[in-house]
Subunit: 442 residues, 2 copies
Amino acid sequence: MTTKDYDIVVIGAGILGLSCAFHLKKNNPGKSILVVDRLGEVGQANTARSNALFRNTFTSWDNQVLSDTSINFYLDVERKSVDLGIRKTGYLWVMNEKQLSLNERHVQKMIDNGIEVGKYDRADLGRTIPSLRTRFEASDEEANIMKLPDVAGAVFGAKCGRLDPDKLSKFYANQFLGLGGKISLNVNATSLLLEPNEPLGIEGEPFVWQESRVAGVRLEGAVQSDLWAGMVVIAAGIWNNEILEPAGIDGHVKAKKRQLFVVSARGNQSLSNLIHNDNFNDLKTLPFVILPKSGCYLKAVEENNEFWVACEDDLNRPFINNPEPNLENYKAEPSYYEHNVYPILKAYFNEFENSRPSQMWAGMYSYNTLDSIPFVFAENGLIVAGGGSGSGIMKADAMGRIVDEMYRDGEKGEAGLYGNVHYPIEKIGFKSRAVQREEWVI
Amino acid sequence: MTTKDYDIVVIGAGILGLSCAFHLKKNNPGKSILVVDRLGEVGQANTARSNALFRNTFTSWDNQVLSDTSINFYLDVERKSVDLGIRKTGYLWVMNEKQLSLNERHVQKMIDNGIEVGKYDRADLGRTIPSLRTRFEASDEEANIMKLPDVAGAVFGAKCGRLDPDKLSKFYANQFLGLGGKISLNVNATSLLLEPNEPLGIEGEPFVWQESRVAGVRLEGAVQSDLWAGMVVIAAGIWNNEILEPAGIDGHVKAKKRQLFVVSARGNQSLSNLIHNDNFNDLKTLPFVILPKSGCYLKAVEENNEFWVACEDDLNRPFINNPEPNLENYKAEPSYYEHNVYPILKAYFNEFENSRPSQMWAGMYSYNTLDSIPFVFAENGLIVAGGGSGSGIMKADAMGRIVDEMYRDGEKGEAGLYGNVHYPIEKIGFKSRAVQREEWVI
C-alpha cells in the first residue's frame, strides 16, 4: 500500500472546500488535512465572482435548513468575532397575480417552518417603494411587447441579505490554518489516483476483479507530483466533473455562465435615492429586489452607491463541459445588459432610464439540474460535494458539516448543523436521494 | 412565425428514435414526421453495437413494466409477421451466498409481480451446468488473489434472451415508412433552432423576456439547412447532450465505452459443447450467464458457434463528453480481455482456457447515472428520451409509446403500453421523477 501523505485532501479552496476543511479539521483534530487550489489565493474563482447573497426563503425544507443554519452560523461569527461584511437587507420578491397565488402555499409553509417572511400587497408596495411601477397602461407599447406583468404584491424575507465572500473565505481559511490545517495554492489537481485495496504489484492494476478506490490526486504546480490520501474530498465547483469524469464518476453538475452588471448611481440622484429606503431594514437601504419578469433583480450596494443587476439566463445559454478559467466564459456581454436586463429594469424602475453598466463580469454556475438542491455523496475513497450555485455560499457551512459527518460515519448518519439542528445526510446523496425539488430558483 | 417543414422531427434512427417515430405516426396519422440520422442506414450506431439482450428481471417496477411490455410486443410481432431474431434463451444470474441473500427480496417481488423467475441452488446448477465451477479450493492461488467467490445458487429468468437489433430497427423503420413517415439519412442534426413564440423581427431574438421554444434543428448533410418543426424529439442516445447542451438544456446522460469480445468455439470441442444445454430452454442452448464476479457474462450464440463475453467496466473508465463516432471510443482493447474478462471466465468455466477473442468491438453506453431507469421529458417544444443503455433495446417499445403519449397529452397522462398496461408518464420525467432506483444493472 502506498504511504499516505495526508489523511484528507480537499480539492478546491472556494467557500465550499474551505468550509469542509474547517469542519473536518475541527472534528478530526488528529487528522492531517491539506486543501489544494489552482489559484493563488483562497476564494478567488466563482466564490469571488458571485453575488454573495443569502436567504432562507426556499420552498424546499432541505434548502431552508441548509441555508438557515448556515446564516445563523455566519451571524454568530460576526457577532462574536470576525467581520464577514453581512448586510441583512432582506429579499423582496415582487410578484404578479399568478405568481402570488402559485406561491401562496410555499409562503405558508415557510411561515409554518418559522421562516421570517411577510406579505405585501400592491398598496403596501406603493407606500414602501413609491417609485416601483406596479401597473402598465394599455397604451404602453413596450410593456405590451415585452408582456410585462402588473405587480400584485410581494413576499419579504427578513433573514436575507448579502455578505462579503472574500471575508467569509478568509475566515474559514484562517480557522482551518489555526487548527493546524494546510493550504497549498497554485496547484492544480488534474486527476484522481486509483489504487487496489490490496495491490499485487502487477502492471496494469487495478483490474476489474480487484476492489479499488481513489487513493490520491495528481497535482500540477511548479512540478507534477502524486499526493496520496486516506480520503479525497472534491469541492471544486464547476471543475468537479473535470476531475471526476476521467475516473468514470459522474460529478452531477453542469456549468453555465451567469453575468452581473454594476450600475453606478454616481451623478444620478434618482438612482442614488432609490438605494436609500427606511421601510425594510435597519440599514435603511432598498432590499434585494426580484422583479416579476425573467428573474430580473437589483441589489443596492449602498457603500459604493451602486446597483448590481442581472436576470435569469437559461434557455439558449449553453452548458459548458470542462470550462477553461479566465476566458470567454468569464466575460460579460454588454448587449446582454442592453437588450435583456435593461428594458425590464427601466420599465419597473424609471430611475434606470439611460443607465449603462460601469463594470460587468461573468462567473460560472455549477448547477444541479435535477432538483436544485446541493448534494454530498461518498464513493470509493471519495466524498464529493457540489451543486449549490447560485446559493452555494449561503449553504456552505451546513454542507461542510455534512461532509465531515459523512467522513466520520459514512452516508447513513445525521449531521449536526449549527444551532443543534440534525440533518439526515443520506437524503442529500444520490443513492437514496429524498430532497424536495426547489421551486424558488433565481 | 416560420413555416413548419414537419409537424414532428425525430433526431436519431437508433432503436429508440425509430420506436418513437412509429408510435407517433401510428397515433397521429395526420401529422408529418421526419426521422433524421447522421449515419447511412437505420440502427447503425450503438444499437448495432449492442448485445441486444432482453430481460424483464429488474428490481424496479418501472423497469419491469417497460421491458416486459416491450418484450411482449416483440414476441407478438414475431408470432404474427416479422422475424426479429428472438432467441428466448433465458438469463441465469449465478450468485454467491451474499448476493443470493441480498437479492432474496428482489426475487420475491418479481415473483409477486408475475415475472417468471426460478431459483437454483448449487446442486441444481451442478446438475444443469456440470462444468460450472462452484467451489474454489483453499489452495487455488489465482482464485484467492482474485477473491473469486464460490457459487451458492442462481436466479433464472425465463422471458429473457436476445434478438437481432438490425431486424428490430428495420421492422420499426418499415412500419413507420409504410404509414407515410419519412427518414432522412446521412444528415447530422448539429443544433437546435430557438424561436420566440411571438417573433418581433428584431435582431438578436429571442430575448430573455420573450417566451420562446425549440422550433427546429439545423442539419448538416450534403448541404446545411434549417428544418422547422412543431415538435422536436431527441432520441440520439449518447449524442443527446451534444444537441441539447448548446441550447442550455441538460441531456441527463453520460457516455461511457463498453466492450464486447467474441470467442469462437470452432475447433474447440469443449467450448462448443458448453453452448448446447438441454436444461433451460426450447432452443437447447446455454442461457445468458452472469457470473458472480465483476458482472462477467457469457452469451452463447449457437448459430455462429461462438460466445460473446464481457464484464463490467465502471470505476476508472472515463465518461466521454460529446464523443466522436468511429474513433478510439469504438475500439475494444485486447488487454482488457486478457487481464480482466478472461481470468474470471476461465476460473468458472474451464472451457475458456487459452481462449482469445476472434472479434471485438466497443460501443458507448448512454447512462442515466441517477437511478439507471430511462427518462422522457418535455421542455420548450422538445421531447427528450434516453438513459436506457444497456437495456435500451428491451425497453424501446414502451419508451416510444410514452413519447407519443407525452406528445399528445403533455407530461401528466398515462401511456398505454403493449397489452393494455397503463404507465403514468409523469414519474419518468425529471420534474416529478418517482421511479425506483434499479439495483440489477449489468
